[in-house]
Amino acid sequence: MSKNVFQRPDSLELHMIDRDGIPESFRWHDHRYVVQRIVMHWVESGPWWQNLSRSFFTGEFADADAGDVTWHIWRVEAQSMGGILLADVAQRVSLFSSSSDPWRMIRVLD
């Protein structure tokens, strides 16, 4: 079983310590988790065209960054005092700017 928590991204920002973009440790539910193992890493892009099509058609100003939705997602096995957690953590990266977004917890796997 897994619990998808991606629908509420605002509340799921993570305080993450990373090295060169690779997660090392983070705080989750008042526990500090240390990443023991990277199980998997993948990258996703969103349907950028939806935003662009809409903006062109309705006359709304396009938000270049909103269409630029590329996420690096890491499935990690992390350990804390309370036990082991298998989770997907993610960070959005921009192709067009160097600023980095906060890390987010997007899924906890039992």
Binding site: I38, M40, H41, W42, V43, E44, S45, P47, W48, W49, L52, S53, S55, F56, F57, T58, G59, E60, F61, A62, A64, G67, T70, I73, R75, D88, L95, F96
Partner: protein, 1230 residues
């Protein structure tokens, strides 16, 4: 860090799939320190040559391969709305790499096989067959079975037994079989497995690797690259949607992220480690995977010279040239041609034999022309020997014999043929009958064409009648065989309009808006779209310009710019045919073209690089027009004219040219040329050569025209730079016009040979070589007693000349049809116009040519069901000759209907036509409306005055009744009027069409007006405004302000010396053409009107440039229909018709209206503010199109697309063109 070699890389030549240019791939590999890189395009090797060349430039070893689909027939979907185009349905694919020359033969054949046999072949069997044919111990094919292969997809679906069986069948082919693992880190963990799985996920890659290990199959890692940088990822999404003919959506794009870019070796090692981790392998296994990849990469490195064939020369074998019995290969056998290779000794023997044959043929020609016993014959023989020596040294005799054979073949078919290009400078070409011009009569030199210092094949272009071009192609294929001939292809690449349309369609935007946006641009590069929106006044002031300023188009334009220059489609080159020996199909892949001729994947530059004999067989409409004219002369006058034998000194011909009445004549009909011949007044054939050479972008830009004309007219003394150069420059009054003059100047001043001087001339075309040439030229010239001052002046001329000037031989070849067309116009005008109107060779619309015919006293006869033929034909009219409009001109008429009418004529009445000719009702109605039955039923403009006369409307009713009679099987009870076989159409009382209605019908159905000129309807207005007519222009003074008016026939934006855009407008006012130039100061407020109106009123200032030279600098223009409306409205006063009131209203209108786009910003802002997807209503300022006081409503879409709320209703009163009836150069929008 260890190196990584990319073995799977698609470029833009994988049509609408890859986003990288081959050159950039090679460059990127070098930047990343890679020593080799592959290009593996989808079903294409079109990018191979430029890729190999770029690799050499970047010191990277090229690897070539091709991606071939394993298409299942039931997966192919043809889309009817896209003309039956086959949409991509993600078939299984393999990647095949070439190892050595045998491997190149293999992938050429495999690619040809794919295109020749389409979807019904077995790729496995074909690979086995090819490997059996060509593979050696070291050379052959390496097949990569990746995630999209049949094996890869079976593994992804965990069908391991099936994967095992498939792999075994691949191994049985004898090719080197390698499993390919690819990870784009796709979202395998997030998405449920589909039938195909997620083939680019890390897990899938690991699974493939595990499978390969279990089968003891070698494995390589690739990144299946589609673009160089991640930023290009969105462009590939647009390409995916375009390729699949669908709007963008998650299911229609191939990528899930931007990982398919050209990664560095370090990044690829990270990928290898991730896959190893996911598959339970060790880190050392990841390193081994990369080592294996590099191993197979190095095995597949090709040598561009030895393997690809760059730098080699291949012409047909001598026995094929001399032996006309060649077989034809069918398309199904393109890829199966046997190719016995000739040894070097055989080739050398053939070359020697070809030299002998060439000499014999030239000697025979000398004898046949009687050029053997005269003073001049010694010069000729010496020239011939010089040319023979060069041809023998280069081994090109077979080349000349091949071209001569093609020309001879064409003449035997009765097709007019003429050589063009520098080949006209060769005496051998003249003696072989390839070129009509004798180079010794016109001071043409061979070295410009053929030089011992250049080993590449020279270029001979052949002009043939355009409508017979494909017949000539077929004859060449039949003569030499499809194993030695292929057409050259060309890549249709993205420019701004296609890019906008494809991006718009991918985003699902309304087609109307997208089309309007695309058409707003001139034909420019896609990457220049943003700049054009900022700089071109007609765009800047449009709604799209307003949107661009707000930044709303930024992302859209970014995608448009991203498509710039990417190939869209492969197409048949309009003229290139390549001929080779029997190894042709081993050295180029071919595929079918729309015209059913096999077409090489290589373009014109590539085939030259690869040493094929490329023959440009150009279809020239003027040749067709002249041929048609000659046929008409023979038919109507009984005179057989040999146009090629007409002497070049006919007085009437030169008088016609000097009169500037050259519409329809080859090369000298444009506004600029008419002005130039007016100033120049050519008197000899060599004058025509100079005229054509002067009217090129280079001479115009470098202002060579003015000093030439000054000296020619005797206004200034010619300057010859130095007395020793006078013989070279005398014919052009001291101005350097020709390449040949540069060559001779360099040879005279330095003492080098003409061949060496031509190399110097070529060097002058490159800025980088200027210093080298200068460093050699100065000391050599000074040594030969030229003063430093003279050397300086000559050097300045030579340097400035670099990119200008023209090849005299080329101009000479052009001058022949120029003179011949002018001769026909001078002596047989009716036949000339019939030819020109039938084959439409020039830039102007037919309606202008018809008007010119009237001006030249040739009557124009309307469409007639009994007299008209398919084409325009000459007809006796009283004691003269007129032109009868052809049936093919009628809108919507089919060839079968035309044939039926022509073969069944004459007819006694409309019933007879209905009964005997197989014509549809719509065509019958259009024939009625176009006046085809007027003579048969005695309908004329005067019929309108007679109450009981039959009218065209009566005939329309009659056609309807005939149709009803036929559909009811002859029952008459339901018919309004009596109609049927044998019954005469009744005069029902319906009025005859008035003059305006007739002209409207003619424009709509024939594209030209016959009964009246459009401007006839504006006569009162023009008289009231004092508009100057074309016939009166010669009576105007310099700097006089005039108003001119007319129907737009052309807008052009040629390059001019200032580097600014000048729009040249040509109007037709029923008394002749009028030309006006709009400089930048006049474009801002008037460009929109200029480009988008059909009839125009133009204000300008006269400038006299010679006895017959007149130019008009425009200072404003207005839509003539709008002006007419203002005039008509104002003239109608309570006291009657008041012309002065109309005049005043027009002056006021012209003062108030500087542009029709005043409302746009406001309209767009309103639309944007509404946040609505629907258009909002905006108000146009008074004095718009209708000029009516008050406001006019206009629908403005949020994108700025404008639409009249009454768009489906034709505006009342004026006559509008049913379609575009004027010429626009590529620089014009619309």
């Amino acid at each position: 860090m260890s190196e990584f070699i990319h073995l799977h890389v698609a470029s833009g030549f994988s049509l609408r799939y890859g986003a990288a240019f081959p050159e950039r791939i090679a460059q990127r590999a070098a930047e990343l320190g890679m020593t080799a890189v592959a290009l593996t395009d989808r079903e294409s090797l079109s990018g191979a040559v430029r890729f190999a060349q770029a690799c050499v430039e970047n010191s990277v070893s090229p690897i070539l391969g091709v991606e071939i689909p394993l298409i299942q027939t039931d997966l192919v979907v043809a889309a009817p709305m896209f003309g039956g185009a086959v949409a991509d349905t993600r078939p299984e694919r393999i990647t095949v790499l070439a190892r050595g020359a045998a491997g190149m033969i293999g992938i050429n054949r495999l690619t040809s096989a794919h295109h020749a046999q389409g979807v019904s072949r077995d790729v496995v069997a074909r690979v086995a067959e090819i490997v059996g044919d060509v593979a050696t111990a070291d050379e052959g094919l390496t097949v990569l079975l990746g995630p999209n292969s049949d094996v890869g997809r079976a593994v992804a679906q965990r069908q391991y037994q099936r994967a095992h069986d498939l792999l075994r069948s691949w191994r049985a082919t004898g090719a080197e079989i390698v499993c390919e693992v690819v990870s784009h880190r796709s979202r395998d963990a997030m998405v449920p497995a589909t039938d195909f799985g997620m083939p680019l996920s890390t897990i899938a890659a690991a699974r493939m690797w595990q499978f390969a290990e279990s089968q003891h199959a070698p494995t390589v890692l690739t990144n299946a690259v589609r673009f160089i940088d991640p930023q290009q990822a969105r462009v590939t999404d647009v390409l995916d949607a375009t390729r699949r003919l669908v709007p963008l959506s998650a299911k229609n794009v191939d990528r899930t992220n931007g990982e398919g870019f050209f990664k560095s070796s370090e990044e690829m090692r990270t990928i290898a480690l991730e896959i190893a981790q996911a598959g339970g392998f060790e880190k050392s296994d990841a390193d081994h995977l990369i080592a294996m990849t590099n191993h197979y990469g190095r095995r597949a490195v090709i040598d561009p010279q030895l393997d690809l064939g760059i730098g080699s020369i291949h012409v047909p074998e001598l026995d094929v040239i001399l032996n006309p019995s060649r077989r034809i290969m069918t398309p199904a056998t393109w890829d199966r041609a046997a190719s016995p290779r000739r040894t070097a000794a055989v080739i050398a023997n053939e070359a020697a034999e070809a030299d002998v044959v060439l000499r014999q043929r030239c000697e025979s020609s000398l004898h046949a022309r009687g050029w053997t016993n005269s003073q001049r014959s010694q010069e000729m023989r010496q020239r011939l020997e010089e040319e023979f020596a060069v041809i023998r040294q280069l081994g090109f005799a077979a080349y000349f014999l091949t071209v001569a054979e093609v020309v001879s073949l064409t003449r035997e078919m009765g097709v007019r043929v003429a050589a063009r290009g520098s080949g006209a400078g060769s005496f051998v070409n003249h003696l072989l009958g390839i070129s009509v011009l004798n180079p010794m009569d016109h001071d043409l030199i061979m070295e410009r064409f053929l030089s011992p210092l250049r080993s590449s094949l020279p270029d001979i272009d052949i002009d043939v009648e355009s409508h017979r071009r494909l017949d000539v192609y077929a004859a060449v294929f039949e003569r030499f065989g499809a194993d030695r001939v292929a057409c050259v292809s060309m890549m249709d690449t993205y420019r701004v309009r296609h890019a906008i349309r494809d991006v718009g369609n991918a985003l699902g935007l309304p087609k109307g808006e997208v089309d309007a946006f695309a058409k707003a641009f001139p034909h420019i590069r896609a990457r220049d779209a943003r700049m054009a929106l900022q700089e071109l006044p007609e765009l800047r002031r449009s709604g799209f310009g307003a949107l661009a300023r707000t930044g709303q188009l930024d992302e859209f334009l970014e995608l448009v710019e991203g498509l710039d220059g990417l190939p869209r489609n492969i197409a048949l080159h309009p003229c290139g045919v390549l001929l080779s020996d029997s190894s042709l199909l081993d050295r180029t892949p071919v595929q079918g073209s729309g015209a059913d001729f096999p077409m090489s994947h290589y373009d014109k530059d590539d085939v030259e690089t690869l040493g094929f004999l490329k023959l440009d067989i150009l279809g020239i409409r003027m040749q067709s027009a002249m041929s048609f004219a000659l046929t008409e002369i023979q038919r109507t006058e009984g005179q057989q004219v040999d146009l090629d034998a007409v002497p070049f000194d006919d007085v009437a011909t030169f008088e016609l040219i000097q009169s500037t009445k050259t519409l329809g004549c080859f090369q000298i009909e444009s506004p600029g040329q008419r002005e130039l011949v007016g100033k120049f007044a050519p008197e000899t054939f060599d004058d025509i050569i100079i005229d054509i050479s002067l009217f090129r972008p280079g001479p115009v830009k470098s202002d060579m025209v003015t000093p030439f004309l000054n000296a020619r007219q005797g206004w200034k003394a010619p300057e010859f730079l130095h007395p020793r150069l006078k013989p070279i420059l005398q014919s052009t009054f001291g101005v350097v016009v020709f390449h040949e003059q540069v060559i001779k100047i360099v040879a005279e001043m330095t003492g080098c040979s003409l061949a060496e001087a031509d190399e110097v001339r070529r060097g002058l075309g490159s800025w980088e070589q200027h210093d080298v040439v200068r460093g050699w030229f100065y000391p050599e010239a000074l040594k030969r007693d030229f003063d430093l001052e003279v050397v300086d002046r000559v050097w300045d001329v030579l340097r400035a000349f670099a990119s200008f000037g023209f090849c005299k031989a080329h101009a000479g070849a052009f001058a022949v049809p120029t003179y011949q067309s002018a001769w026909l116009k001078a002596h047989h005008p009716a036949a000339f116009y019939a030819g020109v109107l039938t084959h439409d060779p020039g830039m102007y619309p037919k309606r202008l040519i018809l008007e010119d015919a009237r001006q030249m006293g040739v009557p124009v006869l309307g469409l007639d069901i009994n007299r008209s033929k398919a084409e325009f034909v000459v007809e006796n009219v009283g004691d003269g000759l007129g032109i009868r409009i052809g049936l093919s001109q009628l809108k919507g008429i089919s060839d079968a209907e035309v044939d039926s009418i022509v073969s069944s004529a004459p007819f006694v009445d409309i019933n007879d036509v209905w009964n005997r000719a197989s014509i549809s009702r719509p065509t019958m109605e259009r024939l009625v409306l176009a006046g085809a039955f007027d003579e048969l039923h005695h309908i004329s403009a005067a019929s309108r005055q007679r109450r009981h006369a039959t009218s065209r409307r009566d005939l329309l009713v009659h056609v309807a009744e005939l149709e009803r009679w036929r559909s009811t099987g002859g029952a008459r009870e339901n018919m309004l009027f009596e109609a049927g076989p044998g019954l005469v159409p009744l005069a029902t009382g319906l009025p005859e069409m008035d003059a305006a209605e007739r002209v409207q019908a003619e424009l709509e159905l024939l594209g030209m007006e016959i009964s009246h000129h459009i401007m006839d309807f504006h006569e009162p207005l023009m008289a009231a405004l004092g508009v100057t007519r074309a016939r009166d222009l010669l009576n105007t003074r310099s700097r006089q302000e005039v108003l001119i008016a007319g129907v737009k026939v052309a807008t052009q934006t040629p390059p001019v010396r200032s580097g600014k855009r000048v729009i040249f407008l040509t109007l037709d006012d029923a008394t002749g053409p009028l030309d006006a130039a709009f400089f930048e100061d006049a474009q801002g407020p008037f460009a929109h009107t200029l480009f988008h109106s059909w009839t125009l009123l133009v204000r300008g200032v006269i400038r006299r440039t010679g006895p017959r030279g007149i130019s008009i600098r425009a200072t404003g223009c207005w839509d003539l229909q709008a002006v007419q409306s203002v005039f008509d409205e104002a003239c109608r006063t309570e006291s009657g018709f008041d012309v002065s009131a109309g005049q005043q209203a027009v002056w006021d209108f012209m003062d108030s209206v500087s542009d029709v786009a005043d409302y746009e910003d406001e309209g767009v802002e309103e639309a944007a503010a509404s946040r609505s997807s629907r258009p909002v209503m905006s108000r146009r300022r008074a004095g718009g199109m209708g000029g009516t006081p008050g406001a006019t409503r206009v629908l403005v879409h949020p994108s700025g697309f404008r639409q009249s709320p009454w768009a489906d209703i034709a505006p009342a009163g004026g006559i509008t063109p049913p379609t575009k009836l004027w010429h626009t150069s590529p620089g014009s929008p619309g």
